[in-house]
């Protein structure tokens, strides 16, 4: 059910990324997108919320932006897409138009895949992750999932 890239690539992305634009994030605390944005914020990423219906409100101290164009000039190195697959091509086009050269990664959440848009982003040198959650992958790579008996795939004899 997943399109899982190597753990080493996910580790690189989640280590090098500093600023994440969460596209379509909800202010409702029981929505998965809010879970993810909150987690990333708590783990030290700068999370910039993008949701046209929420302009004027804040999420974790950061004002909602209405469009990706409103992010121009911000050092966004990853967009995390919480939208339906059909919305992905326009988001990727906007990101390529407004967020280069700082943008390094296009991440699509669980259930979100778009092969053509992914290929377009990769052709511009971007890293693309589809149908995965950065919160879960961060929890897997940096120890949190280990606390609840999940298969992290990590074997190490180091402290």
């Amino acid at each position: 059910m997943t399109d899982r890239p190597p753990l080493a690539l996910l580790r690189k992305i989640l280590t090098e990324t500093k600023t994440i634009a969460c596209i379509g994030v909800s202010p409702n605390p029981i929505r998965p997108s809010h879970y993810v944005a909150r987690y990333l914020h708590v783990r030290g990423y700068r999370v910039i919320p993008v949701n046209p219906g929420q302009v004027g409100n804040e999420l974790f101290g950061e004002p909602f932006r209405g469009t990706i164009a409103d992010l121009a000039g911000e050092p966004v190195d990853m967009i995390d897409i919480f939208r339906r697959p059909e919305a992905v091509p326009e988001i990727v086009d906007d990101a390529l138009a407004h967020l280069m050269p700082s943008l390094k990664t296009v991440w699509m959440q669980i259930g979100v895949r778009h092969a053509e848009a992914a290929a377009e982003a990769e052709a511009q040198g971007l890293q693309v992750v589809q149908n995965l959650c950065p919160k879960i992958e961060h929890q897997r790579l940096f120890g949190e999932l280990r606390k609840a008996g999940f298969n992290t795939g990590i074997i190490s004899s180091k402290l």
Partner: protein, 430 residues
């Protein structure tokens, strides 16, 4: 995980889940003998209770020692996560609980551990659940038994009390076609001999009491999730796909994706059913699992020799071991269980019920116990013990007729195992 297959089974059975203790450097996994855990602050506590962060709250839910065992079992089975619990029977309820509600049923094999037959035919009725038992070699019967209220198919990989190995790929295909999960009890095979998830199973359950622990020290169970079932594809599994009132309307599958079943097992199953594994128990099982592959190889090697010897003994009517060339399941066993068919089988004693009782009483190395998967060789007369609540018809369907005894072959010197059976069979025949 993409990066993982580089490690062999023998490496994973020692290392998966475990790292040196970050506080002390302790190399063996410490026994975290504590009920509760300190929160960093109020926000941390709130995030843990809201399932926004994964961490330790209270040992009914999660415990660092138990978590290592959970990850190790999940890894060896090729699942995304596992929940350990207090026994194999608890694991079965934990596996069914998120799938079931009053009026729902499961389709289960007729060839199951007697205690499971009783749990499914009697006790689950008090939850409003039911089970329909079918012969898994009768594909038409399985399909006919599945109705709109069927929530899962349940089988054992190497079936207790022995002699039968399940065609898991065929069964997985039927379950897929019906849009329901296949649950496989992999206790008697262990992931060393059988990997049900690779063959299409959705969930794997274990009695960790048996081969995983290996020396008959503690009871325990585990539920492993493959992470592959789409719980939201239909409205059949509302516990996983619909808003959960106890978590402010959060939907488990939408929120946790492939990890949903395991999160549900902790956050609802262990929280409210409380069938928790204790950290001492997890420790014994962790230590046992470090030698799982070595023990299973010897169990299988000894079992083949003992079954061969019994089959050629005139005091014995027949032996049901799928590892024998004479078994009707020999081809299936060769294809699906190439490392062996375990060490659990039955044989029929000439002289019937009374001779069985005499045989059991005359053995000096075999122990007469209601257990299997010990380093010691064990014997049981199902008709007078585990299967005694069943009718003779049910006993026969389960391979536990009155003239049948079940062996769980240990890892002692095989000559001694055979000599013990030899002298006891003579006494039983006299």
């Amino acid at each position: 995980m993409t990066d993982r297959p580089a490690y062999g089974f023998d490496t994973l059975q020692i290392h998966a889940g475990a790292r040196p203790d970050p506080a002390t450097g302790a190399r063996q996994t410490p026994i975290h003998q504590t009920t509760a855990y300190v929160f960093r602050d109020a926000d941390h506590a709130a995030a843990l209770f809201n399932l926004q962060e994964v961490g330790f709250i209270y040992s009914r839910l999660t415990n660092p020692t138990v978590a290592v065992l959970q990850e190790r079992i999940a890894t060896l089975e090729g699942g995304v996560g596992a929940v350990c619990c207090s026994s194999g029977h608890a694991a079965q309820i934990m596996a069914l609980f998120p799938l079931m509600s009053p009026g729902k049923n499961i389709v289960a094999s007729t060839r199951l551990y007697g205690g499971t037959l009783t749990q499914f035919s009697q006790t689950i009725k008090r939850f409003g659940w039911s089970a329909t038992f079918v012969d898994l070699d009768d594909e038409a019967a399985i399909k006919a038994a599945i109705d709109e209220n069927t929530q899962a198919i349940f089988c054992e990989s190497i079936a207790n009390p022995g002699g039968y190995v399940t065609d898991i790929p065929a069964l997985a295909k039927i379950a897929d076609g019906a849009g329901i999960p296949l649950i496989v009890d992999n206790t008697a095979a262990t992931p060393f001999l059988c990997r049900p998830i690779e063959m299409g199973a959705t969930l794997v359950v274990h009695s960790t009491t048996k081969y995983l622990t290996g020396s008959g020290t503690v009871t325990g169970g585990a539920v492993v999730d493959s992470g592959r079932f789409d719980w939201s594809a239909s409205d059949k599994f509302p516990s996983l796909s619909q808003p959960e009132p106890a978590y402010h309307g959060m939907k488990f599958h939408e929120t946790f994706g492939e990890l949903a079943f395991t999160f549900h097992g902790i956050a609802i199953g262990l929280r409210d059913l409380g069938m928790t594994m204790n950290p001492q128990g997890a420790h014994y099982t962790l230590v046992g699992m470090e030698t799982l592959s070595l023990r299973m190889e010897r169990h299988v090697e000894n079992a083949i020799k003992v079954a061969d010897w019994l089959e050629n003994d005139p005091r014995v009517d027949y032996v049901t071991y799928a590892g024998l060339k004479s078994s009707p399941y020999a081809d299936r066993a060769k294809k699906l269980y190439p490392r062996g068919c375990g060490a659990l089988f039955t044989f029929a004693v000439k002289g019937g019920y009374d001779a069985c009782i005499k045989l059991v009483d005359s053995l000096e190395i075999f122990s007469h116990v209601a257990n299997l998967g010990d380093a010691r060789s064990l014997i049981l007369h199902p008709a007078s013990t585990t299967h005694r609540q069943l009718s003779v018809e049910q006993q026969e369907a389960a391979g536990a007729a009155p003239n049948v005894v079940r062996l769980s072959i240990g890892i002692e010197s095989v000559e001694d195992i055979i000599a013990d059976l030899d002298q006891a069979l003579s006494k039983a025949a006299s």
